[in-house]
Symmetry: C2
Subunit: 212 residues, 2 copies
C-alpha cells in the first residue's frame, strides 16, 4: 500500500501529521512524501520537511494525503502539483485530505460531485469552486475521505482505518497514540467558541483568503 | 519568545507537531528546530524533518519542546543532546515534553522531583529512571509541562497557552485548528480500550522497550 503524503510550501504541519501518524501506521504502509520539487519545504509555522519523491517517481500511489494551509490560495496555483493530482487521483484507492487540502482536488478537477469537508472558515471559498461542501468533521465518500480543519485529520484517518482494516486495527492505533482527547476548553467549533472568538480567527485568516 | 523544538532520529512526528501547531502560533513565538547535527532527521514513520539550529547556535531558548519516540531508549543514549538539555533547561521558562520525551529531562538529570507524565506504556520505565510519574494526560509543574502519549501534545500545549497568554488566546488557537475532537472509537486509554487491545499494543512496543 503506497501512500503519498503531499508537501508544498506553506502547508500546515498538523494537517499532514495528524493523518500521517495514523495512516503511516497501517499494516502494509509504504510511506512516501511527494513534492513537485526535490527540496525541503517549509510549513506555514516553520517546520522544514523534505520529500522522498516527485511526480516522476510516484505516478500512481494507492493513497493520496493532501494537507491544507493557513494561506490556502497558494497551492491552488501550483500547476505541477495539480497536474500530478489530476493524473494520480483517478487510479488511487483513496484520495484523502485534511483542512483546505480538499480544495486541491477541486482545483485539479477530479472531485466531481463527491461531498468533502474542509476548515470551517474555508467552506464558502470551496463551495465557490464548485465543490459539494459538507460541514461534517469527517466525510467518507469513496474514493474521497476528507477531514475538517487541522486536528480533524486524526478523526478522518481513524475512521478510514476502520473502513479498510477493521475496527480492531483502528482501536489499536488509537490506543498506541493515546488519542483520548481532553481539550482544556470547549472552543473547537464556531458554534462552541462563540461570535467573539470566531471574529478574531476570521480576522487572522482574512488576508490569507484575499485573492492576489 | 524563542522556542526550541527538539529533533532526533526516530522521534514520533505527532509528538512534536501536536505541541508545535499550538506553541508555534503563540503571539511572540520565534520557532527554531534543534538537533545535535545539522542534517535531516527521520521520524519513526519516515517523515524527514530538518533542524535550523544546533546546540551552539541555540544555547538558551525560552521554551524547550521534546517529543517522544516509539523506540524511546534510543535518544537516551544521545549524549550531545542530553548535554544540551542539561545546560539549557535551567535557564528555560518552560521545559515541555510529549509522550516519552519527559524521559530525556530525567536522563539529563534536570527533572528533580517535578512530576511529569508520559505514554501509558512507558510509565514504569520512566519511574525506574527515578522520575515522579503522573498518570494524568497533562501535568503542569513549572518549569515542566508534560503531555501523555502522542496526541496529548495538543491538550498540553493548549493548557500551557492559557497559563501564559490567557484563556482567550488558547480558545482562539483551538478554534483556528478546529480542535473539536470526535474520535470514532473510545479506545484512547488502556482503561477504555480493554485488555485485548492493550495486550496488542504492548506486544508492538515490547521489542522497543528492551535494553540493548
Amino acid at each position: 500500500m503506497q501512500i503519498a503524503f503531499v508537501l508544498y510550501d506553506g502547508f500546515t504541519a498538523l494537517d499532514l501529521v495528524s493523518a500521517y501518524e495514523v495512516i503511516a501506521s497501517w499494516p502494509e504502509a509504504e510511506n512516501r512524501f511527494l513534492a513537485t520539487e526535490m527540496r525541503p519545504h517549509h510549513a506555514d509555522n516553520g517546520l522544514i520537511v523534505s520529500p522522498t519523491d516527485t511526480p516522476d517517481s510516484l505516478p500512481r500511489p494507492d493513497v493520496i494525503v493532501i494537507p491544507g494551509s493557513s494561506r490556502p490560495l497558494g497551492p491552488l496555483e501550483n500547476q505541477a502539483l495539480l497536474a500530478w493530482i489530476r493524473a494520480a487521483a483517478p487510479h488511487a484507492q483513496w484520495c484523502t485530505s485534511v483542512c483546505t487540502g480538499s480544495s486541491l482536488y477541486a482545483a485539479a478537477g477530479v472531485l466531481g460531485s463527491h461531498p468533502v469537508t474542509t476548515h470551517w472558515a474555508f467552506r464558502e471559498v470551496l463551495a465557490g469552486m464548485g465543490a459539494t461542501v459538507s460541514t461534517a468533521r469527517v466525510v467518507i465518500d469513496p474514493p474521497f475521505a476528507s477531514g475538517a480543519g487541522v486536528s480533524a485529520g486524526i478523526d478522518m484517518a481513524l475512521t478510514l482505518t476502520a473502513r479498510i482494516y477493521g475496527e480492531a486495527t483502528a482501536r489499536m492505533i488509537q490506543l498506541a497514540m493515546e488519542y483520548d482527547p481532553q481539550p482544556p476548553f470547549d472552543a473547537g467549533s464556531p458554534e462552541k467558541a462563540g461570535p467573539q472568538v470566531v471574529g478574531e480567527v476570521l480576522n487572522l485568516f482574512a488576508a490569507a483568503l484575499q485573492p492576489n
